[in-house]
């Protein structure tokens, strides 16, 4: 339940994000790429990580809806529409943030007019568009089905599961297929991408549904089930990560050892240990085990997992590029754009903030306009 001061605080935060973001958009449009900190040796930075993050949220939240439809999970049906709405909002945010990453953003249409389907980036781009359209179609079907939320033929759920897993797998494979980076070039990459998407997406659904007061559709029982799903997914992803890291680190040798070391013990060690592991995994795990049905605790835990998962995406995208392919390369030709060190510039953060603000705005508008049911709520403090 949200009172007026709380709503004012939230709106102020959103407004700050939006204004900050618009400044970033202005800078990007007027100065091109000159105010950015990625370069030729680290060509992918915050925005690419942001795209992976948002797409992960979209896939994860929608997979919950697809599962509800496909397996006809009656207790969770009130979550179906809200999951799809979250998915649409985050998907658009993902497409938006990656648009700014392109050197020629106005040529984006070429991915659709002259695609190279051997490229996983092209496949992922096509799947993202198809997926966005599919999400909208199914949400419309659900909305048209009458008052009963989640009353959608199972087949839509099965197709959704297929596209979601293909899409998320392709996003993971986009990195995993690259021989240039031993850190990325891992068969566990696509699996971790799907696992991470499920965890972050469903955690976001938990956060939104638990923290927003509902009109009765989403009860404590649903929150409890969602909490347990998130607990299971946290453990699942931690096992995958243990597998990934321990294999590379155990004997302290191998080509991806340097990248893994930089994540665990490098300059940004705290991103893994503090942000991801402590705040994003262990703390919510204990909270959810302690009070799985308590709305505030569960919602807070879900929010922690969902927001800090950006750290995992950053730790996947950036360290894969920090190791020079050849000793002495960085010193061979020194230039601002030719370094193997990276921290996002203010413009990059601003554009990311813009995407977050757009995502929130889309969700808020959607929940206001569309009868997604359980969300009467976020702005009205429904009972």
């Amino acid at each position: 339940m949200m009172n007026k001061p709380q709503k004012t605080i939230l709106f102020t935060i959103w407004l700050i994000l939006m204004v900050w973001g618009l400044i970033g958009v202005f800078q990007r449009m007027t100065t091109g790429e000159l105010t950015l900190n990625y370069g030729s040796y680290i060509p992918w930075g915050l925005w690419v990580a942001g795209k992976v993050y948002f797409v992960g949220l979209a896939v994860g939240s929608s997979l919950l809806a697809w599962s509800i439809y496909a397996f006809n999970i009656r207790p969770l049906k009130p979550l179906a529409r809200i999951s799809l709405l979250i998915s649409i909002a985050t998907m658009i945010a993902g497409l938006l943030v990656i648009l700014f990453d392109l050197g020629h953003m106005w040529r984006l249409y070429e991915v659709y007019t002259r695609p190279n389907f051997s490229s996983l980036l092209a496949i992922a781009s096509w799947l993202s568009l198809i997926y966005l359209i599919y999400l909208m179609i199914v949400l419309r079907i659900d909305l048209k089905s009458g008052r009963q939320i989640g009353d959608v033929p199972r087949v839509w759920g099965w197709i959704g599961i297929f596209i979601a897993i293909t899409f998320s797998g392709a996003n993971g494979a986009e990195f995993a297929t690259m021989v240039s980076s031993p850190y990325w070039h891992s068969s566990i990459g696509p699996v971790l991408s799907i696992g991470g998407a499920l965890l972050s997406g469903i955690a976001l659904v938990l956060a939104v549904s638990a923290l927003s007061a509902t009109d009765g559709g989403i009860d404590e029982q649903i929150i409890k089930i969602l909490s347990r799903i998130v607990i299971g997914l946290i453990l699942f992803v931690l096992v995958l990560e243990w597998s990934e890291y321990s294999v590379a680190m155990w004997y302290g040798r191998g080509e991806d050892y340097a990248s893994m070391s930089s994540i665990l013990f490098g300059h940004y060690w705290y991103v893994f240990w503090i942000v991801h592991l402590a705040i994003g995994s262990i703390l919510p795990l204990f909270l959810l085990l302690w009070q799985p049905a308590q709305r505030l605790v569960a919602g807070f835990s879900g929010a922690l997992v969902a927001t800090t998962y950006m750290a995992v995406r950053l730790n996947h995208v950036i360290p894969g590029q920090v190791t020079p392919t050849m000793r002495g390369l960085q010193e061979a030709y020194t230039d601002k754009w030719l370094t193997f060190e990276y921290f996002p510039s203010p413009t990059e953060w601003a554009i990311f903030a813009f995407s977050v603000a757009v995502c929130i705005a889309l969700f808020w508008l959607g929940s206001r306009i569309l009868p997604v049911g359980s969300l009467k709520s976020i702005d009205e403090g429904g009972q």
Binding site: E33, S40, W44, G103, S119, A122, S181, M326, Y333
Partner: protein
């Protein structure tokens, strides 16, 4: 005699200089004369002996001199001429029958970076864009140390990882073995940069050396002629190649004009070779057939067209 008069030694011992100081006594003058005479004789004898010795040496050289021995640098120039002739021969063949390759002799490379500089100049490269850096690696420990220089252009791989990842088919491998980019299609996603295991591709972020200074110098806005087209970069105008991935083209625009790549012609140590691998008698074909040859990261299966002699 006029000369004698003018000679100080001919003056009377009692005569005085204009300033009033006395000259030395006659016995001193006699000793000096003797000394000078003897010295001249000694020097003359040595000169005569030396002259005969030189003549002997020259006679020996003349006997050995056929054919003429050029200094090393001239020998390298003849290699350049050979490569140029072979390049012209290759250009007469259909494109599909050529295969351009580069060979870099690391023992000859002195790490002078002249290839980097000439490449930058030839292609008018902006900040952040480099086609041919020369990574330098120190090996050994004092007192046994050495430098290894590895000039690193685009490898123009036969199995290029950068080509299949391009979402819009903006980069491809040509029949002559070169990997090229269509600047008018490239969307600037930098997927190819991320996929290159040699860090051979860089992005043009639209920067200028003169940015944040009162004036952008004219050289920065003059065109480059990559792919035989006129590409002009202007500050504040976001048009290709700004926003694109860029890379070494093996100087295709020069090759088409019958010239060797800029890095080959300016290599100080004559360490860079270029030519048609499909010509069995070409210099590059000969060099690739020696036991010193290797390619970078061959284990990845990329099959680079740049060979190194280690």
């Amino acid at each position: 005699m006029e000369i004698e008069k003018s000679t100080p030694l001919s003056r009377s011992p009692n005569s005085k200089k204009k300033d009033g100081s006395a000259f030395e006594p006659a016995s001193v003058n006699l000793k000096r004369r003797k000394f000078i005479k003897n010295s001249l004789l000694a020097v003359g004898s040595l000169g005569a002996v030396n002259c005969f010795l030189d003549r002997d040496a020259l006679a020996d050289d003349e006997q050995k001199a056929a054919p003429l021995q050029f200094p090393e640098s001239l020998a390298d120039e003849s290699q350049l001429e050979r490569m140029r002739v072979e390049l012209l021969q290759a250009l007469k063949k259909p494109v599909a029958e050529r295969k351009w390759v580069m060979v870099i002799d690391q023992k000859k490379c002195v790490g002078c970076d002249s290839c980097t500089v000439s490449c930058n100049s030839e292609n008018n490269l902006p900040p952040g864009v480099v086609y041919r850096p020369v990574p330098k690696k120190e090996v050994g420990t004092f007192p046994n140390v050495a430098w290894i220089f590895t000039p690193k252009p685009c490898m123009h791989c036969d199995q290029p990882p950068c080509v299949p990842v391009c979402p819009v088919k903006a980069t491809w491998k040509q029949e002559d073995g070169t990997v090229i980019i269509d600047y008018d299609i490239c969307i600037g996603c930098r997927n190819c940069i991320a996929s290159c295991p040699y860090n051979a591709r860089t992005s043009d972020f639209g920067d200028f050396f003169g940015r944040n200074t009162p004036e952008i110098m004219a050289y920065e806005t003059r065109p480059n002629y990559e792919y035989s087209k006129d590409w002009t970069r202007k500050p504040g105008i976001h048009s290709s190649p700004i926003g694109n991935t860029r890379k070494c083209t093996f100087c295709l625009h020069r090759i088409r004009a019958g010239m060797l790549p800029a890095c080959v012609t300016t290599c100080l140590g004559g360490a860079t070779y270029f030519g048609d691998y499909n010509n069995n008698h070409s210099l590059v074909h000969e060099l690739i057939g020696t036991p010193r040859v290797k390619r970078l990261k061959e284990e990845l299966g990329t099959k680079p067209s740049v060979y190194y002699l280690v």
